[in-house]
């Protein structure tokens, strides 16, 4: 069956640390004259190969700064590979940071529309799913409250609820359940489980080995931007835990 939804071949992502730093005109000219501008480069991920089939669930493990989030941004299309190729077929709902698409000044209701549209949902679809989103986030009473007054748990519930109601082909979740309480985490895992049964592809980053093995069939272990191991989730997580 030829149902590859994500195909990453020899992908390398390069950040330019010197440029990423905020620079004024004076420093810029100075650096330019001294040829220091393109000096410090940093390979966030190096030569990664990954092939994900439709309906698979992949977990990504590794220490902080090992390149997990960069890899997810590559799949989302936010970053482009410096070398190699990335092809993704199907719609992607990224959940890279809690409240990433929120405007803190706006109310919960306004943010549902803002965030949904950012995720690429048509307005009619947001209208249709509105109640479902609110129900799942358990925020009926707080819809007209500005999001800046929400607790981080409330924000995470709303974020997760919108992203999962977007019904994208590929759901990308980066360490998003860390702030919710146990009960909500279970609810979220159940929902992801259900989406997987419905044919959604899941890419999931977590520092909790339990969550990875529960949700994911496959896993990849990253270290300093390199792939240490990929394969069955249980094996990879076990090897990673041992190495720690």
């Amino acid at each position: 069956m030829d149902d590859i939804v994500v195909n990453i071949q020899h992908a390398t992502v390069r950040y330019n640390l010197a440029i990423k730093k905020q620079m004024g005109l004076k420093e810029y000219m100075h650096a330019l004259l001294q040829h220091k501008l393109f000096y410090q480069e940093f390979l966030a991920i190096q030569d990664i190969n990954l092939r994900i089939m439709r309906g698979e669930s992949w977990g990504f493990v590794g220490k902080n700064g090992s390149g997990k989030s960069t890899l997810l941004k590559l799949v989302t299309g936010i970053l482009r590979p410096y070398k190699g190729t990335v092809t993704v077929s199907g719609s992607v709902a990224p959940l890279l940071e809690l409240g990433a698409g929120f405007d803190m000044e706006l109310t919960g209701k306004e943010n549902i529309y803002l965030n949904g549209l950012i995720l690429g949902m048509p307005k009619a679809e947001i209208d249709a799913r509105f109640d479902e989103i609110v129900d799942f986030a358990e925020l009926e009473k707080f819809l007209d409250v500005p999001v800046k007054n929400y607790s981080s748990g409330m924000k995470s519930r709303l974020s997760f609820s919108i992203a999962t109601c977007a019904r994208a082909d590929i759901l990308i979740a980066d360490e998003v359940l860390a702030t919710g309480d146990k009960q909500f985490q279970i609810k979220c895992e159940q929902r992801m489980q259900k989406m997987l049964e419905g044919g959604t592809t899941l890419l999931y980053v977590s520092h909790s080995p339990g969550a990875i093995t529960r949700l994911c069939q496959k896993a990849m272990w990253l270290d300093h931007g390199c792939c240490m191991m990929q394969g069955e989730a249980n094996d990879v997580v076990e090897a990673y835990e041992k190495a720690k």
Partner: protein
């Protein structure tokens, strides 16, 4: 090539609802916390005009006929061309969080910010209408040429806005440079003095090379002289506006993959 343009266009249509929400957001945030809210959009230009009229009539004793309209036109165009890009310029950097964490075409941010500037301009027009009525200015058929002048102004404002927002991502100093530049620009655009009060050499330079002055001059010709704007000025306005607009599109096209690394 044409396929790419089609795809880009389809993508653009898909993001129109998002644009709408972003514009609403910016407008709401701007006025939600003030008591008078949107009334300020009309009140503010009127009050500034009033002060300028008082200052220049009683302190500097100018001889310009219908000075309120004269100064309002100058200020309205100046606010659009200097304040517009000044506001839009920051849209990419201030939405950096969204750019890094979600996948939306980056142009939606300058574009939505530009629409807010446009809405502000519409409020300015409403205030302008009030001034025209109060000063009993003569309105003639020549008013039909005014939308053409507005179109020129919008072309220039949008082009400048997009160019500056890209430049601002790479070099933040652009914000300060623009501020200083605009101060000079204001004094070189005959907003509150007659152009004829300047040395002839300077007069010629301004009327030849200052696009802002072309816009002001065309508008004044329509509303104060009750005549058609000069053909050459209209042509020059569209020429320069179109040029800036195309330059901005090219700059966006060639830099859009790098923006994310610098915001």
């Amino acid at each position: 090539m044409s396929r790419r343009i089609r795809l880009g266009w389809d993508n653009f249509l898909k993001y129109i609802p998002l644009l709408k929400v972003l514009v609403e957001r910016d407008l709401k945030k701007k006025y939600r916390t003030s008591v008078l809210g949107y009334i300020w959009c009309v009140l503010n230009p009127l009050l500034v005009m009033l002060i300028m009229t008082l200052v220049f009539t009683y302190m500097f004793r100018n001889q310009i006929e219908n000075f309120p309209v004269y100064v309002f036109i100058g200020r309205m165009m100046y606010t659009l061309l200097s304040g517009g890009p000044g506001t839009v310029m920051r849209s990419l950097v201030s939405n950096g969080g969204l750019m890094r964490k979600t996948r939306v075409p980056y142009y939606v941010f300058p574009l939505s910010s530009f629409f807010c500037v446009f809405v502000d301009f519409l409020f300015n027009l409403a205030a302008f209408a009030i001034v025209l009525i109060f000063t009993q200015a003569k309105i003639t058929i020549h008013v039909v040429a005014f939308p053409i002048v507005i179109l020129e102004a919008m072309l220039m404002t949008f082009g400048l806005s997009l160019l500056l927002s890209i430049a601002h991502v790479f070099i933040r100093d652009v914000g300060y440079i623009w501020g200083v530049f605009c101060t000079a620009w204001m004094y070189l655009s005959a907003i509150f003095y007659p152009l004829s009060s300047l040395p002839e050499m300077v007069q010629r330079l301004i009327s030849f090379y200052n696009p802002l002055y072309w816009l002001i001059d065309q508008t004044r010709t329509i509303f104060l002289l009750n005549a058609w704007p000069r053909y050459g000025n209209v042509l020059k306005g569209f020429g320069v506006g179109g040029l800036i607009f195309i330059l901005a599109l090219l700059a966006y096209q060639s830099s859009k993959d790098d923006l994310i690394l610098y915001v």
